[in-house]
């Protein structure tokens, strides 16, 4: 039996108008993502990897093409619907962690739960659980500035997992980390996938990409293989 189709993209294009002209970030990208997939997307800088990730995560709206997110037409969604989709169905991990520096690790992780309206008790329990999962419960009271890069990225992953997302979208999650720390994050992603989370990973790191079940490549806004 084929696993449930979560995201279906057909001939996606994305254009940005800049002062110097039009940038074609995506040129006819088609991709299916099923529950349980572990997809990595590799490619040179500015080839459209992050743009594709943002489109798949309802962060950005493609200029043309068809994009179905959890059975709903992304183009027909209002901003509030896309926001709700990001909150409930997606977890985001970024290269630069993007933790709020004035909040502790626990408070950063609690943010999506607060937005989702979780009760205080539920929030505290879930924050402890996900920080335990990334082996950082001992540092939950520390602010980002008091944590190493690897620890900050683990907090960012814990934040992404807070609302039990179905899909984790990771944009260069090891880009700012040394090799050993990057390997720790890669192991954590493996474990997440083994525990049932669907993962889409954008990376320059060939070793990390090799750990995925579906390594894809992009160039000049196009996926080079894996046309559905």
């Amino acid at each position: 039996m084929t696993p449930e189709l979560l995201i279906a993209a057909r001939d996606l294009t994305m254009e940005y108008r800049l002062d110097g002209g039009v940038v074609h970030a995506l040129r006819g990208v088609s991709l299916d993502l099923h529950r349980g997939d572990y997809v990595s997307i590799m490619g040179p800088s500015a080839c459209g990897k992050s743009t594709l990730l943002h489109a798949m995560g309802a962060v950005d709206v493609p200029t043309s093409g068809a994009l179905s997110l959890f059975g709903r037409d992304a183009a027909a969604m209002r901003d509030a619907e896309r926001t709700a989709l990001r909150l409930r169905h997606f977890g985001f991990v970024f290269q630069r962690f993007f933790l709020l520096p004035m909040l502790t690790a626990a408070e950063n992780v609690a943010l999506p739960l607060m937005e989702a309206g979780a009760s205080r008790a539920e929030r505290d329990r879930r924050v402890r659980d996900v920080l335990d999962y990334v082996a950082l419960s001992a540092r939950m009271g520390h602010k980002p500035g008091q944590l190493s890069g690897g620890e900050q990225q683990r907090v960012a992953i814990a934040r992404a997992l807070a609302n039990r997302p179905e899909v984790l979208l990771a944009d260069e999650p090891t880009g700012e980390l040394d090799e050993a720390t990057g390997a720790t994050i890669a192991t954590l992603l493996d474990r997440l996938h083994a525990d049932g989370t669907t993962i889409v990973l954008v990376t320059h790191n060939a070793e990390l990409a090799a750990r995925s079940r579906r390594p894809l490549h992009m160039r000049d806004g196009r996926l080079l293989e894996d046309r559905p």
Partner: protein
């Protein structure tokens, strides 16, 4: 969540925020002072009139009480006629004017005399000795300033006359009064000397006895709500006088003090603009440094309107935190400025320019909160238009 994030965001740069709060607080203090000034004299006068306890003042036509030394004739007859109205509880005749006052072997000094029947402590308050009794035709209550300048004590005799011979330093046809008490006079200027007595001797000294001249009648009513109607009745029946209810008198005074309103409105507006600019600058600066964080909050599913609310709350929080400074400093500055302004000539003892009232406080609070809201509009508009992907891209590339 919004209050929590706003508080944390503001105190991320503690020193900058504290300086901003101090700045907004000082602007707020000036705003409070201007609210206190705009109606200060009127409020001060209303409090004095309420303390005095008479609802209507009757004065020579076209004048305010003691605005000039003009008098109206047949004063006691008018008083009796007004007192006959069923709505009137009592009428007290008052005569005011300048006299010369002295003691034997002392150079006379000019003083203001109040003649009043009955001589209640409406226009003065006895601080030493006793007040006058209705039959005290040979006793007087003197102001602290007069007692000091003439070296008067309770039981001493003081002489008063309408004129004096300057070359000889002698009073003309003086009349002696025993000092019964020393008092503070409500409407005296800072260095003014005054004395109070019953009406008849005051009229005799001022040459008003024959025409029964009076400066003012104060009228107490059974029901204060009838004051406008009774004042209108008095104006109709006695063309030589003008009658003011407290409300009418305050309105007339307010008209004469319009420049205070204008002055306070201009300075108040300036402080409000400073407040808006300060709060707006701090919030916009803070937002500019956190655009990436805002984008990430949007990316993880925080609603756009929540971020708009967050920015607005940051502006309001700055204002709320500055309120203790605004009200504390506002009070201190008001006391200081009031003291300076009251040193000006022609300002009665109990009048104040800056008067704290709940209305002034509420207006200041409302205006400051409005300033905080207004200041947050532009940064909130910026965050409402924030595009997630380009902002994150910019943050990563930058």
């Amino acid at each position: 969540m919004i209050a929590f994030l706003a508080r944390r965001a503001l105190f991320r740069y503690r020193t900058r925020t504290m300086l901003g709060i101090a700045g907004v607080g000082i602007a707020g203090a000036l705003l409070l002072d201007m609210q206190m000034l705009s109606r200060g004299l009127q409020t001060s006068l209303r409090r004095i009139l309420r303390d005095i306890g008479y609802e209507i003042r009757v004065t020579p036509r076209g004048t305010l009480p003691f605005e000039t030394e003009a008098t109206f004739s047949e004063g006691h007859a008018i008083a009796r006629s007004i007192a006959a109205d069923a709505r009137v509880a009592r009428v007290a005749p008052v005569l005011g004017g300048t006299l010369y006052v002295g003691r034997p072997a002392q150079r006379p000094v000019a003083a203001f005399v109040y003649g009043m029947d009955p001589p209640t402590e409406a226009l003065w308050r006895v601080t030493e000795g006793r007040n006058l009794a209705p039959a005290d035709s040979n006793a007087a209550v003197v102001s602290r300033e007069l007692a000091r300048d003439l070296g008067l004590a309770i039981g001493d005799t003081v002489f008063a006359a309408r004129g004096h011979v300057a070359q000889l330093g002698m009073l003309q046809s003086p009349r002696g009064f025993v000092v019964a008490g020393i008092a503070t006079f409500r409407f005296d200027l800072r260095t003014q000397r005054s004395l109070a007595m019953t009406t008849r001797p005051a009229q005799a000294l001022r040459g008003e006895l024959e025409r029964d001249g009076l400066s003012m009648l104060v009228v107490a009513l059974h029901d204060a709500a009838t004051s406008d109607a009774v004042a209108a009745m008095i104006r109709d029946r006695f063309p030589a006088v003008t009658a003011y209810s407290v409300r009418e008198m305050l309105a007339t005074v307010q008209g004469q003090l319009a420049y205070f309103n204008l002055f306070s409105m201009v300075l108040g507006s300036v402080s409000l603009v400073v407040c808006v600019l300060l709060v707006g600058t701090i919030v916009a600066l803070s937002l500019g440094e956190r655009l990436g964080e805002m984008a990430i909050l949007r990316a993880i599913g925080v609603r756009r309107r929540r971020l708009v609310a967050l920015v607005m709350v940051e502006g309001l929080l700055l204002v709320v935190l500055s309120l203790p400074i605004a009200f504390g400093a506002g009070h201190v500055i008001a006391l200081w400025l009031d003291d300076i302004l009251r040193r000006a000539p022609s300002i009665p003892n109990e009048m104040h320019f800056f008067v704290f009232t709940p209305r002034a406080a509420l207006r200041t609070l409302g205006l400051m909160l409005a300033a905080g809201t207004l200041a947050g509009i532009y940064p909130a508009w910026l965050v409402s238009r924030l595009r997630i992907a380009p902002t994150l891209h910019h943050e990563v590339m930058g």
